[in-house]
Assembly symmetry: D2
Amino acid sequence: MKNNIHIIEENESNVRYYCRRFAKEFAKAKMSKMFTADGAEYIDFFSGAGTLNYGHNNEYIVNKIIEYLKNDGIIHALDMYTSAKIDFIHKFQNKILIPRQYDYKMMFCGPSGTNANEAALKIVRKYTGRKNVIAFMGAFHGMTLGSIALTSSSFARRGAGVQLDNTIFIPYYGADIDSLKYLEMILEDDHSGIEKPAAIFLETVQGEGGVNVADYKWIAELYDICKKNQILLVCDEVQTGCGRVGTFFSFEKAGIQPDIVTLSKSISGCGLPMSLLLLKPEIDCLDAGEHNGTFRGNQLAFVGASAAIDYVIENDVWKKVLNNERYIKAYLEQEILSIDSKIQCRGRGMIWGIDFGGFEEKTCNEISKKCFENGVIIETSGRRGSVLKILPPLVINREELTAGLNVIKKTIEDSL
Amino acid sequence: MKNNIHIIEENESNVRYYCRRFAKEFAKAKMSKMFTADGAEYIDFFSGAGTLNYGHNNEYIVNKIIEYLKNDGIIHALDMYTSAKIDFIHKFQNKILIPRQYDYKMMFCGPSGTNANEAALKIVRKYTGRKNVIAFMGAFHGMTLGSIALTSSSFARRGAGVQLDNTIFIPYYGADIDSLKYLEMILEDDHSGIEKPAAIFLETVQGEGGVNVADYKWIAELYDICKKNQILLVCDEVQTGCGRVGTFFSFEKAGIQPDIVTLSKSISGCGLPMSLLLLKPEIDCLDAGEHNGTFRGNQLAFVGASAAIDYVIENDVWKKVLNNERYIKAYLEQEILSIDSKIQCRGRGMIWGIDFGGFEEKTCNEISKKCFENGVIIETSGRRGSVLKILPPLVINREELTAGLNVIKKTIEDSL
Amino acid sequence: MKNNIHIIEENESNVRYYCRRFAKEFAKAKMSKMFTADGAEYIDFFSGAGTLNYGHNNEYIVNKIIEYLKNDGIIHALDMYTSAKIDFIHKFQNKILIPRQYDYKMMFCGPSGTNANEAALKIVRKYTGRKNVIAFMGAFHGMTLGSIALTSSSFARRGAGVQLDNTIFIPYYGADIDSLKYLEMILEDDHSGIEKPAAIFLETVQGEGGVNVADYKWIAELYDICKKNQILLVCDEVQTGCGRVGTFFSFEKAGIQPDIVTLSKSISGCGLPMSLLLLKPEIDCLDAGEHNGTFRGNQLAFVGASAAIDYVIENDVWKKVLNNERYIKAYLEQEILSIDSKIQCRGRGMIWGIDFGGFEEKTCNEISKKCFENGVIIETSGRRGSVLKILPPLVINREELTAGLNVIKKTIEDSL
Amino acid sequence: MKNNIHIIEENESNVRYYCRRFAKEFAKAKMSKMFTADGAEYIDFFSGAGTLNYGHNNEYIVNKIIEYLKNDGIIHALDMYTSAKIDFIHKFQNKILIPRQYDYKMMFCGPSGTNANEAALKIVRKYTGRKNVIAFMGAFHGMTLGSIALTSSSFARRGAGVQLDNTIFIPYYGADIDSLKYLEMILEDDHSGIEKPAAIFLETVQGEGGVNVADYKWIAELYDICKKNQILLVCDEVQTGCGRVGTFFSFEKAGIQPDIVTLSKSISGCGLPMSLLLLKPEIDCLDAGEHNGTFRGNQLAFVGASAAIDYVIENDVWKKVLNNERYIKAYLEQEILSIDSKIQCRGRGMIWGIDFGGFEEKTCNEISKKCFENGVIIETSGRRGSVLKILPPLVINREELTAGLNVIKKTIEDSL
């Protein structure tokens, strides 16, 4: 079974992407490591783009799934009542929402973040009777027609092939233009030409946009503007949720409760497709079946998601994230920034970016490729792909984390 | 753990749907049977809306998955090269496509039918440079913004909350208006007001639209019109594919090779989220990453899908479907049509509809509910929900099939 | 002042059109005749595309205008109260509407037909709360963005450069598909994919579409379908109104009262820009200023329009039209149809088409050009420009009418 | 003929607007004066919203028109070659464009400013292949569907009744946000979410937006940004052109040559409907007939327009405007600003605004009404209608100008 990559290259559409960057046949994986078919191992600083917060094949979680399968637990049941779903809802309410005093109803959408965002669009438009939605420059909310309209990348947008309407983009935190001042201006002016929006979609940290980190105070002010103007705030927690920044929700420290929260990626605990939309009870306005999808009841994912909640709490994962945050920050400041004064770093929790915007366009891309050659899986993001995105599993141990960072350091030093 | 349904009712969004119709807590399932938490059993004539063609927890398939999990096989890897993916591509090409002389490249989309249809929209628009797409009255292609535009139900469309553009609806096979004549008229007339479409989206049997079955000759003529006018034909095989009508693809007997085929639901063999888009090599025009999605590489689903191919061939499932087709057809003609002359029946393979359009609007809905009380899970579809949709797993045995049909017969007799 | 055409050719945009077909410098005109700068004369079978129903420089009408100007009557006053406007409204109500028992309010739009149709779109959408509008294949309603969306010509639509939404085209009277049956089908089917429209826009005779004449009974049935479904009927009378078919409104003989009527072209009586929208009092829903335009009060046009009403009644113009209708019809049947069996003729009142659809595509265009060389100004219309459109002033005398028809006859004979 | 206003009130649509504010029956007018049917006279500081730059019934111009009519000059001829059109084109090139070294082709659109802007939209979209257009907050470009999309007033936009797409609004000169910096930011960022626009539509002075006056240096910088990014610049000169600011085109002093210029309102010299679009020869991309309109050849307007050019030059009107500019500016600064420190004034040439934004919302509206009672016709504009707009004919004599200003001063003093 050696070197079978050609079977994919010959038969899979040109649209394939990550396999071009990480061009090995992978066969197995465990926590922070991935193993190729011929036995080579890689440290994973990519985590399935944020899907594997608790590591690959986390033993505690996978064992629950195997047990469930062996016992003929239901695998697929649309949105019928099932024991696995009841367990998950019960656990999520009691261990995640209630301790944080968040009052949310739960909606199960098609098993992807983009689907949850599509559902959010339906809700905010129906509830407010408005059509416009505000998104931020640099935002990524998905690749289906509704969510592409909220995604700012010109490449992604062109791919839609049709007009993308009903979205207003405003600058994100940190832009040269004062974003909130601009927002208030267009909301107050009856000659702004911009219809009052139904909602604002927010990522507290923009992953695809280049690891842009919004200040908590700014988030709180944004929330206040929304409240004052009866605009709903939707937090897209697909990548930043599930503990990535050291709290379950990435907005907790801003002291807000968004009207809608969309979760996916790591919510199932083990990389299985699932999404979850939380919404305040008073905006629960869709009729039965008004949004649906065949796989909105991925029971295996529910089993994983329940196990993940237990695992996280028992293992104090959020606390570890905060420790790692301090460690990564210090490492970047001491070891990376010192390499070249044009390098910039930013991040929160365990999502960090090393920004090579000051260098030639190809620089970051080449560093990412060389890191892979050197045993670390790491992707790029941001404008012109100039930001190296550090996104290891939350559960990575200190030794592997350091090893990975050292590879990055050495690769940068060799490349610049 | 008895009567925990209230946990869902209190916490899940009002959008939940099937649980209202089949209001029991289900815990286990095996092939054509589902079991509640307190042990009651139901015959499944619903099959997860066509997702469970090979039954719940098909032992052959599930064992492959358990084995894979135990062995730390990769669960999630976006579109990196993996052994599980290579296996599936190899098997699908060699056992499904090549024997049928179909030359298709394979594209893995987000793990749902709607996502594959969104991808198809991008491809046909990019390849042709046109924006319009033709869909049929009665069509269902999904609930995200791009695919809702191709879905004809006014309820589904209203839910989008925004204008749905770039779609032209034409009558389906069997309408009072000659559909193909109408199609040719609008294509030829430079004053039709209708821009030449990029593609026509076709279901060979409309499931949601009310089990409307297109004649193979009509399908072949439609294909010819597409070829003549350089319009792409997209077959949405999400519900009708994977053997549902007795051939792997539902269009095989029409003698055509559509430009694009979208598959999902039963493709993973066991109810796990997955979708697959097939496209002719010459229209493989998307750039790397131009459509993507976190869960486009659900490795467990690949393992299931590979196992399913072996299972189907070894067990001669398609032949059994054709036998069952004859049996169901005869049963409906003899036992059901005789109940009342206003009843109509139609279908193909193992998807059949009993049409109560001639009765009061609530009739069909009530029959479906009573069937559930009598131990059969069966849903409604079509205009005003007036068609009872028979959709058992393909692998149901004759005894259970007959038992289910007898329940339906008795329920109808009691209801009219 | 000879041969100054080059001044236009060098300085006017390429978009210029009729000057290419009728490439002489015209200086004067009187009733049915136009005169070039060097004294040549032409019979006008074009009438400014229907703007000059009462002839060029109709003496009675023009004298009223000169008198008004000499007296410092107001020329421009937006929608302020003016004596000229009061006179016109009074006369139009008392001499046109009241005798026909039509109860309409009057709205003055920007001075062109397209502007009145844009206003009609605003009204029907606001009144019904719906967005879709139905137009007919072959329709022409104008060239601004709202009205292009209702115009079926693919050339006109492409020119918009953007997506044209919210319009559904259905076949017109006489199509191979039964138009009204199709209309009822899509209105009744909740899976037609077509949102209930706010209105249907109708021309009783399609001028640009190729002189297609709707049967009065069909129009009455269409009206009934509108009433039954609470859909507004808008009659675009821009070309067919003002007596063109022998009644002031072209729909009178159908026994209907449309909800909205748009008038322009000949309404001012002398070729000055003006439009007028009539609407039933109960749908008069726009707020003050919700549609406007600088030239909605062209006072000279009001003076002309008032004079035209007096002129038409005193000179019994509508009766003359009916006489001419019989004469033209007989001429075409006897003199033109006999030339070649592939020729078709149709029309009503004083708008008639000679259809060369059965011949080579260039045929009709060449005949039009040769007619001009032979002293008759006549344009083409319809699919591929294959219909020669006979559109003389209503006030043409029998001698000139015959002379023009004879030129056409001879030209056709020489050309085929 | 006394008190016939009721005829209009009973029969005209509720959409009527200015007649509500200036509720008298007007019968005659001469230069800067309007006269009611019962002989009262008013000073006109409104000028038909900028249509009557050369006064009502300017004797020189109107005499030319009367002469033309008496001589059976052609009134209506679509876009055929006519002597009146040749004269106008010749004069406009030789007396307006060539002296300014502007190389423009001329396009005659439907007879209104909105129609010229609709045509401009077609050109910029066809020429660039892009769809987006940038307009400024506060802009007014018309009330048909294409141009409403460029108009920022929320009231006007709501009236469209449909989605208004393909327009991006950015702040105008003088906003709190640095408009050009913002513009450059969104053009440079491939994650701005904003597609590169085909064109930017500019008013050098926003009339409807509240007499906002752009600095010439800012205009020149905007022009440079357009050039650098291959974006077309369209100057909407409908209200500010034809000498209103003391130069024929309002952008002359900025030292730029816009790619497209749209003119209407005063271009005909006497209030007759006409529009004119100027475009650089290299972007003259529309095919014959791709934009059209029945009244694109209003011959009387051409006669007036030719006469107006002679009149303006012979009477040195532009110089008088500059004198009046100084006079009005001094008057406002000395007599009006001193009334209350919350009053603001701004303007250029002979368009000036007195801004009551610092007062109660009804203030400005009431002052406008009282001015009318006191014999001056003057309208409001801007956000919440808080700007009194001074817009007298350019040819007003000093005595009447002073009399009008004194009325305004006294009315303000009495009102605050």
